[in-house]
Amino acid sequence: MSPPCHKKAGSAAPTQRFPTCAIGKKPYWRSPPGAATHAALMHRFANPARFLKIARPLTQWLFWPGLALILIGAGCGLLVTPADYLQGQTVRILYIHVPAAWLGMGGWTGIALAALVQLVWRHPLAAIAGRAIAAPGALFTAICLATGSIWGRPTWGTWWEWDGRMTSMLVLLFLYLGYIALAQASARDGQGGVSHVTAIFGLVGAVNIPIINRSVVWWNSLHQGPSITMRGSTIETTLLWPLGLTLLGFSLWFGAIVLMRMRAILAQNKVEARMQRLARG
């Protein structure tokens, strides 16, 4: 930013290092702190107002249909679909395990995208989105590991093995925990959003996502290869369809949770900003 004034040739003293620009009587670089924070404040509240106008009704429109789809999908997956020829009834864990894996990985992809927007465009909402995604993302990663373990016992004959897929998914859970810890530690200085260091951590951690995805292709693993690929699905349609319902349902629900957490952070910001103004008098 260049000062909106012209240096008067010859008028400046030879020792003076800054051009003097008189707005009233104050030089531009000594403007009161209120002026600068006012601009920042406008930037901060202009977008949340627009965001909240959309987010308020959208929260419910994502939450309830999401929950309904989850219940219908899970109900059909438990009661309607036939058992697998090899695994029998345990195949039904698929309908929650796959959405959990998808959202655990999708959550980190969201964190990485939010981090990119935060670091490049300095958008304050992106920093808040990163914080809001972390908890549900970590939860779904944990659900994926737990349901996978429960599924592994009757099918593979083990609760846990250190194969590529399971190990890389556990690494994702640890990445989430690290991200949450970093975000908590930097909660004070980011107006509810995550700090730059946390955002960079989110961006770097994204390297694990393609590794999880490819782990069953690159390495011999106990976990089977991908069933649903670009070439189609090796899951029979009679077994597959409830997965579509639960995938969509959990995704909508995930969106609703993220919106709720963002709204909570924005409301806390508003309260904190008011408290600070009151404290300043």
Partner: protein, 43 residues
């Protein structure tokens, strides 16, 4: 049906976690927004 025990356990874990996260997020949002609204009422 031993297999069903595993299926029920997996669904129960997911249901419990989903419900807890829903309630926690909903409550946190509700109390934060109420506090913010009280500020605007006073202003």
């Amino acid at each position: 049906m031993n297999q069903w025990a595993f299926v029920i356990a997996a669904y129960a874990v997911t249901a419990g976690a989903t419900i807890v996260m829903s309630i926690m997020s909903w409550r946190a949002m509700g109390s934060a927004e109420r506090a913010a609204d009280r500020l605007s009422d006073r202003a």
